[in-house]
């Protein structure tokens, strides 16, 4: 192989006679053309990926780390290929380029590197030794509990935390981490079916993973100590305590699992199940839409002595629904507080005054049907409530005030409204189980619903509890089991028998949420408020009467469901909060883009246009593209290879246009100096030409030029094509052509333009790029022209970007015919926007030309322009 290459090099040496090397040269040229085409394909892919990343940064779509990693990797691959291919076209000519790219790539890698593991490698931490400063190890929930116990002297259950380090140890076993990342990359989490499938696979992987021996031993030791402290065998609750959970920005309400009354025999298994809920569908979806980085998060798990509660519930230190209501709101149930947290039952409702002395302002006592209690063996069970307890309040007045005081104490300590889970144990002691910031209602969300006109429709059902205010409409979609979730259509009204937290992944797609059971205090209600989705819970069995797919309008604020779409109610719908903006993943994208997208190598003629000046991936692609075009031009000349040297275009007269055939751009081999228009087989070039000659140029816009132009017009079909008879070599216009490809480099007067297009059968690869720079006039008029042309190109469907007086317009993935049509428009604009910079400070002239250009373009599209008719063979 090496010997062959040596031979090739010698053969390509200039001292050899051209005749003898012709076959080798022809093949060499073919190979170069292939490299060039591959370079262009890589360039297009790189530009598309960059614009996809920029669009993501601009908002409006949801993306996660796997999007960011896969796009930047694909981009890195494309740019690397370009540098490699340029090196093939011009071996060792730009030695600084590859090291420069490597530098940029490694900066990007540093930005995107997985987050460093948090400090501290303890697998277990006791609740008595942690506070908020250990949130990176213990997770937010348990760190908070430690803070309440150790700094506020509040009663919490005794227990310990299985830390984030333990989670990482579990995942490191058997390469689980890599496997999880690999599976995530190929899944579209916005698609419910893929989300549920992936979630189930990932959870299974974790549950099946072997328990690392040192973790198993540490867990058993910690449990034994807890049991000894409690004086014998003790049941525990295992509570998820994820990193980043329960922060003010992201509530994660009920996204993760909690297991109650766990028997010691099942400790390890249950730990893995709770840990695995990191990949519950709702948690994965939540992290995705909130732009949270999986690799920065981890799942710690709290292991707390079980509180066999007599009653329990949730306290909000202010109303979660109405920002004007600053009183304390309690929801309580008999037994374990879970029925309230899971939104299963509405529970008794108490409103306690914020002002001291605290007193009960309002009380709603439900008819409670059941309670949840610890099972003697393992887990929990539901008991029917009969007799007087069903209708008795499950909190005494003193207890309600005690809970409210605790909530206000926590609010005061943390400096913001709190959401507190609590229980009364068998000895009548208040035990706090959890505390997290409460996201108060948005002011506008609480504005009263507009009144329906008296003649409005009768509601289908009304009542229940406003879980999240607002109105929304859509077809009813009942979700009773997982398979119903898979078919949930975006924009439907989510209808539930009870508001279980597991349906949180659907909330973001729902127009509104309805539930037969539940109240405003559950996790799902919190999620609805966070997403700004109207929700009405506790509608009772009447809701079941509403049929699947029936179109309804939900007015959660005034607690009614109407048939059909009631536009009066829908008009005030508020925009959904934009979660991605400013999120960790979004910030990472913005930082990555600094190394990717700014274009600083703008002017190929400047001495600054050097590989070592490239500071972004965009710069590298720009440099490679520019130089590859130059290399393709120079080959025939440098190698005395007439067939692959440029030919002067002969169209009635010799023109200042030179044509280089890359492959199959001419209908036959041209040996002489000239090539005629009819010898050209390049479809894109012929389309540009058609656009150029379609409508005669009126000449420079200012007075004085017209007379001269009309004289020239008589000389040839279009005088513009022969102007600059005495132009210098550098001011010639070059076309490189193949049957489906063209590249045009042109200098008209003082400005430079380039057009490049591929219009073939692979629609996916087709593109048209038009770039344009400079001008004779002052900066403000040059910029004016860039804007002027940009607007017109956007009207023609191009994607336009401009930097200083550079304009880049692109069109991608269009059918061949559509690409050729667009090329005609480009040809026209090349001719007719020359020297328009002169009039850019005159609004009336600008309007005149805008109008004329639009009319001309429409005429060209119809194929009826004078010049087009003349091109057709008689």
């Amino acid at each position: 192989m090496a010997a062959l290459l040596e031979k090739l090099k010698r053969l390509l040496g200039r001292e050899e006679e051209p005749v003898q090397v012709e076959a080798g040269l022809a093949e060499e040229f073919k190979a170069r053309y292939l490299s060039f085409r591959q370079l262009l394909a890589a360039n297009n892919k790189a530009l598309e990926l960059m614009s996809e990343l920029e669009a993501a940064a601009g908002g409006g779509r949801v993306f996660g780390m796997s999007f960011l990693r896969s796009r930047t990797t694909a981009l890195g691959v494309s740019v690397f290929q370009m540098v490699d291919l340029l090196n093939r076209l011009a071996p060792d000519k730009y030695p600084a380029l590859a090291p420069r790219l490597k530098q940029i790539q490694s900066e990007l890698e540093t930005i995107l590197a997985p987050a460093e593991a948090a400090q501290g490698d303890e697998l277990i931490l006791l609740l008595s030794e942690i506070d908020q400063n250990r949130a990176e190890q213990a997770g937010a929930k348990m760190a908070n509990l430690g803070e309440m116990r150790n700094h506020l002297g509040l009663k919490v259950p005794p227990g310990f935390v299985i830390t984030a380090a333990a989670w990482r140890l579990l995942l490191a076993g058997g390469g689980l981490e890599h496997e999880i990342r690999r599976r995530q990359q190929t899944a579209d989490l916005e698609n419910a079916e893929e989300l549920f499938t992936l979630s189930s696979q990932l959870r299974q992987l974790i549950v099946d993973a072997p328990m690392p021996p040192e973790l198993g031993q540490a867990l058993q030791r910690a449990y034994a100590a807890l049991a000894a402290e409690a004086g014998g065998e003790v049941r525990v609750s295992l509570r998820s305590s994820a990193l980043g959970e329960d922060s003010a920005e992201a509530s994660f309400a009920g996204q993760y699992s909690t297991q109650l009354n766990v028997h010691p025999e099942f400790l390890e298994q249950t730990y893995k199940e709770v840990a695995a809920s990191f990949y519950s569908p709702q948690a994965m979806h939540y992290r995705l839409v909130r732009g949270l980085r999986d690799d920065q998060l981890a799942m710690a798990v709290g292991c707390l002595a079980m509180v066999g509660g007599v009653s329990g519930g949730v306290a909000y230190s202010v109303s979660p629904l109405d920002p004007a209501d600053r009183q304390v709101h309690l929801t309580a149930a008999w037994g374990l507080p879970r029925v309230v947290v899971d939104g299963e039952a509405a529970g008794d409702h108490f409103v306690v005054s914020r002002q001291e002395p605290h007193r009960i302002l309002a009380r709603v006592i439900e008819d409670k049907q059941s309670e949840l209690v610890c099972h003697a063996g393992d887990g929990v069970c539901r008991l029917e409530l009969t007799g007087p307890r069903a209708t008795q309040p499950c909190l005494s007045e003193a207890q309600a005030l005690e809970v409210a005081e605790a909530a206000l104490k926590l609010e005061d300590y943390y400096g913001g409204p709190q959401d507190v889970e609590w229980a009364y144990d068998g000895q009548g002691r208040l035990v706090l189980l959890q505390c997290r910031p409460l996201r108060p209602a948005e002011a506008k969300a609480a504005t009263p619903s507009p009144q329906l006109p008296a003649t409005g429709p009768e509601p289908l059902t009304h009542g229940g509890v406003t879980a999240s205010p607002g109105a929304g409409a859509g077809p009813m979609h009942w979700v009773r089991k997982d398979t119903d979730a898979l078919t949930f259509p975006p924009g439907a009204v989510l209808a539930l028998p009870r508001p279980a937290p597991r349906w949180a992944a659907l909330v973001g797609k729902a127009a509104a949420v309805l539930s037969a059971r539940g109240g405003a205090a559950g996790h799902l209600a919190t999620v609805c408020r966070e997403y700004g989705v109207p929700a009405l819970f506790g509608l009772g069995p009447e809701l079941e009467a509403l049929a699947q797919d029936q179109e309804v309008t939900v007015d959660a604020g005034s607690r009614a469901v109407y048939p059909g779409r009631v536009e009066e109610l829908l008009q005030r719908r508020q925009a959904r909060p934009a979660f991605m903006s400013g999120s960790p993943v979004h910030q990472l994208l913005s930082r990555s883009l600094e190394r990717i997208s700014p274009l600083t190598l703008l002017d190929p003629d400047s001495s600054e246009f050097q590989p070592q000046r490239a500071s972004t991936l965009h710069d590298v692609t720009r440099f490679c593209h520019e130089k590859s075009v130059k290399e393709m031009f120079s080959f025939g000349k440098e190698h005395h290879f007439p067939q692959r040297s440029s030919k002067q275009l002969f169209y009635k007269v010799p023109m200042q246009w030179w044509m280089l055939n890359l492959d199959d751009g001419f209908v036959r081999e041209i040996r002489g100096k000239y090539v005629k228009l009819e010898d050209i087989a390049c479809l894109p070039m012929l389309a540009v030409w058609e656009g150029m000659v379609a409508i005669p140029w009126e000449g420079p816009p200012a007075a004085g030029g017209r007379g001269l132009a009309s004289v020239l017009f008589e000389a040839t079909a279009n005088p513009a094509l022969t102007t600059g008879v005495k132009t210098r070599y550098a001011q010639r216009n070059y076309f490189m052509v193949a049957r489906h490809f063209m590249n045009l480099q042109s200098r008209f007067g003082f400005h430079f333009c380039a057009v490049e297009a591929l219009a073939g059968e692979r629609r996916r690869e087709n593109y048209l790029s038009f770039s344009f720079k400079g001008g004779a006039a002052d900066a403000s008029r040059r910029l004016g022209r860039v804007r002027f042309i940009g607007e017109i190109m956007e009207e023609q469907g191009f994607r336009v970007e401009s930097t200083e007086d550079n304009l880049n317009a692109r069109l991608e993935r269009h059918e061949q015919e559509a690409t050729l049509e667009a090329l005609k428009a480009v040809g026209y604009l090349l001719m007719h926007t020359r020297q328009l910079d002169i009039i850019m400070n005159n609004p009336r002239s600008v309007a005149h030309y805008q109008d004329k250009i639009r009319r001309d373009l429409a005429l060209i599209r119809s194929g009826q322009a004078e010049g087009q008719k003349a091109l057709k063979p008689a």
């Binding site: 062959l4 292939l34 896969s70 990797t73 694909a74 890698e109 190929t186 692979r762």
Partner: protein
């Protein structure tokens, strides 16, 4: 463009389900497809056969994909290798390209795009072969 059945492809992936499904679809597109589940087996096959294009998974148990790539390019420099992987990792991708891979594609790749990539790789290989032939022919002329 050549007709498809001239192009022979070796598909190397340890995920049986994915590999077999992809092989069936590529065969339906008229490609000649052989399969191997691991790097070592693929290298053994390459000692006997010279496929035009190898589709190679990067992360496989046993022999590392990048090492397999290095040995393929040693044994069969003209055979083009497309890395096909579930791992979006910038450094790995660049190492792969430095070792002569034709491309680094992230799963899932739309079939259309993959078939076009295989054609492109095949085209590069044929141009390379013709160039070598022409140089040899020119070399004996004078």
């Amino acid at each position: 463009m050549s007709s498809n059945n001239e192009i022979s492809v070796l598909l190397v992936d340890d995920e049986e389900y994915y590999r077999e499904a992809l092989a069936r679809r590529l065969i339906r597109r008229g490609l000649k497809v052989a399969e191997e589940a691991g790097g070592a087996a693929a290298l053994e096959r390459l000692a006997r056969e010279a496929p035009d294009v190898v589709l190679l998974d990067v992360k496989m148990p046993g022999l590392d994909g990048l090492e397999v790539l290095r040995r393929i390019k040693e044994m069969r420099p003209l055979t083009e290798v497309i890395l096909l992987t579930g791992h979006a990792h910038l450094e790995t991708s660049i190492t792969g390209l430095e070792r002569g891979a034709f491309d680094y594609l992230l799963k899932p790749v739309p079939l259309e795009e993959l078939v076009e990539k295989i054609h492109d790789a095949w085209e590069k290989k044929s141009v390379q072969e013709r160039k070598i032939k022409a140089v040899q022919a020119d070399g004996v002329k004078p």
